[in-house]
Symmetry: D2
Subunit: 307 residues, 4 copies
């Protein structure tokens, strides 16, 4: 397996087309596009890595998997009155669907949906408390207390908040948010600014590969059915309006972030984190997707195959 991981990293190191680093958040625009990392954590406790797998990067929307998990833990199925669970067919920051459906976001992974999820887990608390809880949870499932918020990235996002502010105010106008828009957005931008390495991220995702149990520690994070359902949402909605493409090419539940990371889950096998900052036109990591496609072709771990 280590050979395969090395092969993938070598192939990606030599790739000429590397995509375009997100620049609408200036702080993300400074990242070196030559970087690539991959890390696989298996359900039997092994870790295989290559590239700069211990370099922290901004996980951005991948954090939505973790806040969704927290929200389901707090509220259970009542969360679904606040946010749907269907692919939207629209880009991550689209507002058209919100107008057609009275301010209720289609799923928890488009921006509007993730903002609604953050609002749900605030439960009357201040942003600082909520952020403390989010960070604690991520550190816990990654078993690593060095994970941190990159405040420079959060500040950079706060300085370019308009598109997300538009979504939040729109939902607020329909009574879909309980807290102040400013507080919800502040919490949301910090959540997106969590910095993790591929090794930390693969570890953090492992509970989704094992029906809810974090295999190395043996601790149950969520019930089996919940783990499966989170995976289903990652499959259906994890790559916005390129979710179908990711399912077609990779065949694993996955969640991307504009920082260039992708977390993919191979149920029963392991959790794979990849990172390369250059994005394709849908905002998903170009080489990260190629790396996962190559990984699944060689391992056969597509959920759609008979492996």
């Amino acid at each position: 397996m280590q050979d395969l991981i090395n092969d993938i990293a070598d192939t990606m190191a030599n790739a000429e087309r590397r995509g375009k680093v997100a620049d609408y958040i200036p702080e993300l625009g400074h990242v070196d596009p030559q970087q690539f990392a991959i890390s696989l954590a298996t359900v039997d406790g092994k870790v295989y890595s290559a590239g700069c797998a211990t370099t922290p990067f901004s996980i951005q929307s991948i954090s939505k998997v973790f806040t969704l998990t927290i929200a389901l833990g707090q509220m259970g199925d009542s969360l679904w009155s606040k946010v749907g669970r269907e692919p939207s067919g629209d880009p991550f920051n689209s507002i058209v669907q919100l107008e057609h459906e009275s301010g209720k976001p289609r799923n928890p992974f488009i921006n509007a949906g993730a903002i609604a999820v953050v609002d749900a887990i605030m439960m009357g608390h201040e942003p600082k408390e909520t952020l403390g809880e989010i960070l604690s949870f991520v550190r816990y499932i990654a078993d690593d207390d060095s994970i941190y918020f990159d405040h420079a990235v959060a500040a950079s996002e706060m300085a370019h908040l308009d598109r997300n502010a538009s979504l939040a105010h729109f939902m607020k106008a329909f009574g879909r948010l309980d807290h102040d828009v400013d507080k919800v957005l502040g919490t949301y931008f910090h959540q997106c600014a969590i910095a993790m390495s591929c090794e930390q991220l693969a570890h953090a995702g492992l509970f989704l590969a094992s029906d809810g149990i974090n295999k190395p520690s043996g601790i149950r994070v969520v019930a089996p059915q919940r783990a499966r359902r989170i995976n289903s949402l990652m499959m259906m909605c994890g790559h916005y309006d390129a979710s179908g493409e990711f399912a077609f090419r990779v065949g694993l539940p996955g969640k991307s972030g504009v920082g260039g990371g992708i977390l993919a889950i191979a149920p029963g096998y392991g959790s794979i984190a990849v990172w390369s900052p250059g994005l394709d036109s849908y905002g998903n990591s170009l080489l990260g997707t190629q790396a996962l496609e190559m990984f699944v072709q060689r391992t056969g771990w597509s959920v759609f195959g008979h492996y």
Copy 2:
């Protein structure tokens, strides 16, 4: 396993809410809503059935899985220039997306996409020849020459063709169809009017559970990667704008039809066909979905779990 299948059939026999039989096609409106059938064909050659599993019903949109398979066999990936592979977020008969995207349907399972697929496989031939080829293929993968076109259903659909004619003419106006609209629609309606029983349908879907090999016969129908990709499309788009819901509740690639049938694939395990004519508000079988949900809860065969 037979006990589980029997349990499911018993539960569904006693269900009070049975959904609403499709009545926009009058011929389908006459079907008795009390009927229920389930059939599981496993990759090791066993068959478990309960209910009226040998009663033929109109498979309707489930046929789109088979025409997609034929089209990919003929054209390979060039098919994707004619039709996309993303969930649309819209109902099965929506035309809004077509106008926004220059007449190219989002995926092969919405009506517009399936009509484009039929046009692709006609390749200059007459409807009769194309229909002959479709029927031969379905009989071949089901290993059953008694499968037939229900001409009364096809005629009933032809008499209520306007919504689909609108879709077809719209695509034609953008140069997306090569053949006459009337011929394409005639072929499409007959394809949808294929009548099969649950046992036949489960058998026909088995190649998708075995990386492309029809296990009982050992014959390869498609390459492994193609089988996985068809499954991914069923997962992402098989239930229209309720595809997310089906993934969330059932967790298997599946394709529904307004006749009340659903074909679901458990890769590595088997192919499950269910039938109950009453539909939910999205046009998917109400009890069929519940039966599959119960089946997966008891077997753990969700592709998102560690089974």
Copy 3:
């Protein structure tokens, strides 16, 4: 006044940018783009013309004013249950609005609305009879029996009917059309293929400038309120999604056709017909619009001014 008309014709004869002749109807694509004509018929019975004002051209969508007048004569306000009277904000052939509003067209001048109007005036008759009635009416208000259907243009449109067929079938699917789609479309395409000269057209429109009375003959065509309402519809919807632009620049109720003609009404003054085959990006005559803008700037006949 004749001097002004001559000035306008001279200016337009020398214009370099002349727009693009419609080529989606091949028969229209052959027309010489160098042609220009203008004709003003005044309420006191004078006629001022310049350019090729006696050359017949295809009036296309301008015919929708006449079929609307016929339909209101037959049905009165019950017509408004079949078609709305709001600008749509969308191009002339858009289908998006139809899906959002259950197949009811926004107004009688977008294609879908005009098709619904034709269906309304058929009243169970065959296309031939309806077309006879339409032609009789146009000949009557223009006082000229030489006006005719250009069957070559109609045939050319029939051969490229898909976009309009899509609209018609969509409305039929919602029960919005009473007659066969083929018959309605056949009638519609012939109506659009009426050939008239600018002089004939200006004469035909005169009743709208005089509260419903065709001034030269003194015959009342419609009641005063109806004339005003037809003018209001021309103002609001007569140039599709460039109606606001026409109101802003010209300030008169007007109706354009892709043949390059425009009929404009100056209530209390007269009826102006212009023709130049080259179109702007919205499908309206480029020089025709400029000619009307120049005309109104010089006469002050904008309905929005104090003339």
Copy 4:
């Protein structure tokens, strides 16, 4: 004329269906729905009033006519790079069109467009200065220094700003606003909270009935062409997605506000202000529209007729 004005007021005083007072701005919700006022200012300097024509009410969106006039005075036609001039076909607070057209509002009278106009006239100044300029202009054209901002209404709107904040942030995200969203909204809400009586409003609108000259004083406010163009925008877009209906029934350029006022212009004749707080389903004054319809039927002052 006074008899007609009295007749109208009497008819409306006895109307049973009076519409629904806007309650999404709580401060507006307290207004007594039994009130009705009408005032006509003619180009020859006469004033005819009935009902509570000296009672100030919140003019709300009618103020958009005045800020548009100011913006055109400052910027001329360059304003049209910031905002379009087409009817949108959507409700006043819709955001769908903004997403489809890169954040550029369709016209200056939908909320998004009016916010863009306010941003344009701020020109780097603080809200206080801009509001001072707006109020001075309105007092000047109404020749009445008692006109004021109703700060309670402005505060009430600020407390329910989310829908408009969503629009503003959306435009800001596309670089369409030069100033801080908070400052633009603060200015916008105060502008909408201008309180005027029907007599003051009719007086203020008079320059639009006289090709730009405020007749009583003889002072030119805008050039003739600009007056006509503002009228054209009122006709095409002044009643949101019911603009076609207003043109059809009334036939005058008009602008409504959710406070229940309507300003209508009869070019060459006069300016008519009506007020009745109850609204129809489009957000336009129910009795105000009926009053104007009655007025035009009796006077024949439709711009579409030969009066």
